[in-house]
Symmetry: C2
């Protein structure tokens, strides 16, 4: 964590100094808003936290409820989300309070007496095997609390406007007189407080519909949820119990003659969540199943658990739902053939819904929000052309489609009857074999203005272009401490350029030295795209990783590019020079871990941590061309 950079900070360094519109943020919704976020679920709250890093953008987040979410909803946190929490500064805290999934066990009818269930398989969970972060379970309300804190502590000082409901919107056509700078006219209504019932219109540059499955924003732009509800219902309950079921604190899939349970232990050591199969729903049920009383659900759970039973001491929350699989064809208001940039976007449940059991809803929604938020921040601040915004739908719609497909397969596997199961190992195998998907690491964006093609992929085979940058450990040269290179990539809206050096150490002639010289020239993306008057690292965070061990690198001989002087005190930044060579504290070498060429490579990473490109050190023209596609030329700052 870097601070004291603008002078000594005595208090909590996580609270950033207010800046821009955060300095004197009006408590009332202004008439003109750059980015209006509708809904404070995981997608909306992440967006608020991200946009708080762009304090020159007037961002507001409205929410129909009159306060924070208190109960229920999602709880599965995939490792990709924990990586995301790290970028927003609260991974270590939420890990400490969450349930960590170490195992998933499988239960089936006892062949000797099929009325009883027995444990057939224990499998190690994939969490720590696929990421440096775990696979957690924690209530959605806490995730939202942490994002709310990140939004409030960011320089934009964003706090949700609770008790305001989205009623409808009109997008005024570009160039029309009514459009102006804020072409989206939004109708709102106060739902709580003194002004309850009052209606109001505001104007926005962009609107993010993060308003969940029944999205009014979706309706307002005429997008359709495609798909339907299957004829299968599930009850879900968060309960504390006394029980003789020994796996109450272990995630399990329970398959019994009486039905199925997906059992998920929750944070805090006592509470668990059970998804209880309520079976096929009759054609003419007309959602009657949703009225199933909790007693029936508990009775069903006890029937499934036989010979074990639960004595429910408190029901914290419960709900009944029918599995739906729906996805919206396009995630913004722009028609495919249109040239104009989109103005209204859909994220999360507003554009894709599915069963809860693969534990994806909250996770995918957050990645939607992140993908969209940095792009809006970049466009509104003038860093990027509006065309960037079309990549949101192009990138996220296929992910949603993939999610629906995965979820359909997983929920039908989960809902099978014992006689349909030939091999009790099968579900376990599927769970582990597909781990990359539920971990959140299967997303791979195709080539676009912000993702390169695979021409030079072999220079860094462990950083697949279009996938998230998988962190690895390196040593910080300045102090010899081991750090995760990826953890320096916080959600500050900047692009990362990692220069993996060729063999010579600093001070000697090398391809890296040549590259650094070019990066310090007026032709470099740094000079072209960093606004004059800004710090040289305002848009790009450029780091170098030498092949030597940290004690073999003389940091003072590293090019000035990697030791920029920034901030009001023009202080040298010590944390851009890394060493790959192993030491006592860092046993691994990132060049080996990630298959990086010993001739060096440049790895470009987007503000949302996805690998944008891999290039040779010599490919300076390609690097410049890549950024010309997605950043506006500012011809500004120069490396001193």
């Amino acid at each position: 964590m870097q601070f004291h950079h603008h002078g000594y900070v005595s208090g909590d360094p996580r609270v950033k100094p207010a800046a821009g519109v955060g300095i004197d943020r009006p408590s009332d919704l202004p008439d003109e808003i750059d980015v209006l976020i509708v809904g404070s679920g995981p997608a909306g709250m992440l967006m608020a936290a991200q946009l708080s890093q762009y304090p020159d953008v007037v961002t507001r987040i409205i929410e129909r409820r009159d306060g924070r979410l208190v109960l229920g909803q999602a709880d599965g946190i995939q490792p990709r989300s924990v990586e995301t929490f790290q970028a927003f500064g609260f991974a270590e805290r939420i890990i400490a309070e969450a349930y960590n999934i170490g195992y998933m066990n499988f239960w089936s009818p006892d062949p000797a007496d099929p009325r009883n269930i027995i444990r057939t398989t224990r499998t190690e969970d994939y969490g720590y095997k696929i990421s440096e972060f775990p696979h957690l379970i924690v209530n959605q309300a806490r995730v939202l609390d942490y994002f709310a804190e990140a939004a409030a502590h960011g320089p934009g000082r964003i706090v949700p406007d609770y008790g305001i409901e989205f009623m409808g919107l009109t997008v005024h056509e570009a160039d029309s007189e009514a459009a102006g700078e804020y072409p989206v006219e939004v109708r709102l209504r106060h739902t709580a407080g003194e002004r309850a019932g009052e209606e109001r219109t505001v104007r926005a540059k962009y609107v993010a519909g993060c308003d969940g499955a029944r999205s009014g924003v979706r309706e307002a732009i005429g997008r359709k949820h495609i798909g339907g509800i299957s004829a299968h219902a599930w009850g879900v309950m968060d309960v504390v119990v006394n029980t003789d079921f020994p796996d109450w604190r272990t995630k399990c899939a329970i398959n019994s003659e009486a039905g199925n349970i997906l059992h998920i232990p929750r944070e805090g050591g006592y509470l668990s969540r059970m998804y209880i199969d309520l079976g096929e729903v009759a054609q003419d049920d007309n959602h009657e199943v949703r009225k199933t009383p909790i007693e029936t659900i508990i009775a069903k759970a006890n029937a499934i658990l036989h010979p074990y039973s639960i004595d429910v001491r408190e029901v914290a929350w419960y709900s009944v739902y029918e599995v739906g699989h729906r996805v919206t064809d396009h995630f913004d208001d722009r028609e495919a053939e249109e040239d104009a940039a989109p103005r209204v976007f859909l994220t999360g449940d507003a554009c894709h819904t599915h069963s809860a059991k693969a534990g994806q809803g909250m996770n995918v929604s957050m990645q939607d929000g992140w993908n969209l938020a940095w792009k809006l921040g970049s466009v509104v601040t003038g860093r990027s052309p509006e065309s960037l915004l079309a990549t949101y739908s192009a990138e996220r719609q296929p992910v949603a489609q993939q999610l629906i497909d995965f979820d359909r397969e997983w929920s039908s596997l989960m809902a099978r009857k014992p006689e349909e199961i030939s091999d009790p190992q099968e579900l376990a195998n599927y769970y582990l074999g597909t781990a990359e998907f539920p971990s959140g690491f299967m997303t791979r964006y195709g080539p676009s203005a912000i993702v390169g093609d695979s021409t030079h992929q072999e220079l860094a085979s462990g950083f697949p272009i279009g996938k998230r940058f998988k962190s690895s450990q390196v040593s910080l040269v300045c102090d010899g401490n081991v750090v995760h290179l990826g953890h320096h990539a916080t959600a500050d809206g900047r692009w990362r350029i990692y220069a993996f050096a060729d063999a010579p150490p600093p001070g000697e002639a090398s391809a890296l030295t040549e590259w650094a010289r070019w990066m310090s020239s007026p032709e470099s993306p740094l000079a072209r795209h960093t606004p004059a008057g800004s710090d040289i690292d305002a848009v790009f965070d450029v780091k170098v990783i030498y092949q030597q061990s940290h004690d073999q690198v003389d940091i003072m001989k590293a090019p000035e590019l990697f030791r920029p002087r920034t901030g009001p005190l023009a202080l040298m930044d010590w944390e851009k020079v890394f060493a790959a060579g192993p030491s006592t504290w860092c046993p691994t070498d990132i060049f080996d871990e990630r298959g990086i060429s010993r001739d060096g490579a440049v790895v470009v990473v987007r503000p949302d941590q996805y690998v944008a490109d891999v290039l040779p050190l010599a490919a300076t023209d390609e690097l410049a061309a890549f950024f010309r596609q997605n950043l506006v030329v500012r011809q500004g700052a120069l490396v001193s």
Copy 2:
């Protein structure tokens, strides 16, 4: 982290439900106070955080300053302190913001040109080698912030009473009419706010003098600081700079012809602290040296650093001091021959001062505070007899003496001239060879009512009786997750009894089963010392560690003793049964790591994490006798 135990908790689980006097805590100081803490430094704030766990105790903490500490003072955090932070719930957060000491480098005059310094040695720091926690540097103000949060979030809801100064006290003799229940009469004065200048008297049962080196409490009880100030002065400055000195971000001892520097990088990536040797002070200096201007200190630093230099961009804080080594002969108001319990105590700098360079001040003060706070909590709540309080001075005074001796040696080594140094390795060797002391792990309390003798030490050689319980990893049986056994021992004021099982698994006859049966009988300490109406784990947290791996332990067959039902919902506690056998997530076996007998052993650990005793499973009489010495017989709860 366990919660939801009294019903569902929606918000931050670190905020405990208010209880006792915390429910409606008066903002004004009451007339009668159980424990009055004077001073909100590290010792006082830790005490407040600990006593907040005893919500039936009226604890107040007064502080002369009108608000939180903002700047300066100590910054070295030894691993033992980080363990302590873990017990108070904020280790992961403070680690994330602190500087981690990975190396300590040593610089000496270049033999080729002694006007220049060169790096002679790099040594790996001991932090992670001696504990699972690191050796950190972070401003004392932040440590105090975190303790303040722990105090405010504990059930007692303790917040410091800022702007109130201690003026003096009188201890009324026991049994005298004036004594009553609150024998200490304390004179106070408001120093800030509307009531500034107003004087007031309150009555206390006990007073903790945590009021620093010039302690008024010490003076009031007539104790003397023994020792003196040496004739050597140091300047200390917290600065952000630009420099060509490559080790600006590494801890170093710099020994140059122009003098010596102890260089300590600080949190945040830019700031460092330098302790600069200002040389011998003339006999008749009369503290003139303390007026040394910052310019002189910076010039001196530059002279020492030659051929490197620093360009100071901001001075966050600086000070000049003469090294003193002083310790008070006794840490409470009781004369050695007296029978009555002490009423007034001294902690931290109030009873021992020394140089800052061994980085001990804050750390030792916190351990003082912890040692005293749980004892006061235990006595005021009636769990323990008053005689317990005499152990405070008996245990901590020798630690302070040891500290002074170590510090004297370390500071004279640090202040040597180059020509006095025969081997440049010597300082490095001393640093590493003595690591146990500055880590905070050398403290070993002698036998007393709360520390057993070494009769059965060989049953758990890795848990030396009288030293702090060195944690090791085990698996939680209920979910297979790896946990640090010691991290369950939070600062909740409870005694821990760890039953390390003999070979048989649960359900089979074993010494462990016999022990558990006895522990559930009316003769056991559990029954004797737990008040009726309390949860069975209110005073003792009893855990079992089986030798098997977690998947070989059927938790439902473990004795009920280890699955108590507690709280308003009478919920079974799942987190008292552990497994030592290695798994994917836990590669080590605590029996091997800590030299525990395969015939089993009982390890008793105090509320401040010190090992109180090691006993065979069969030694039930000895266990009962041990607790009869330090806990009052309540004849209360029984294992159901």
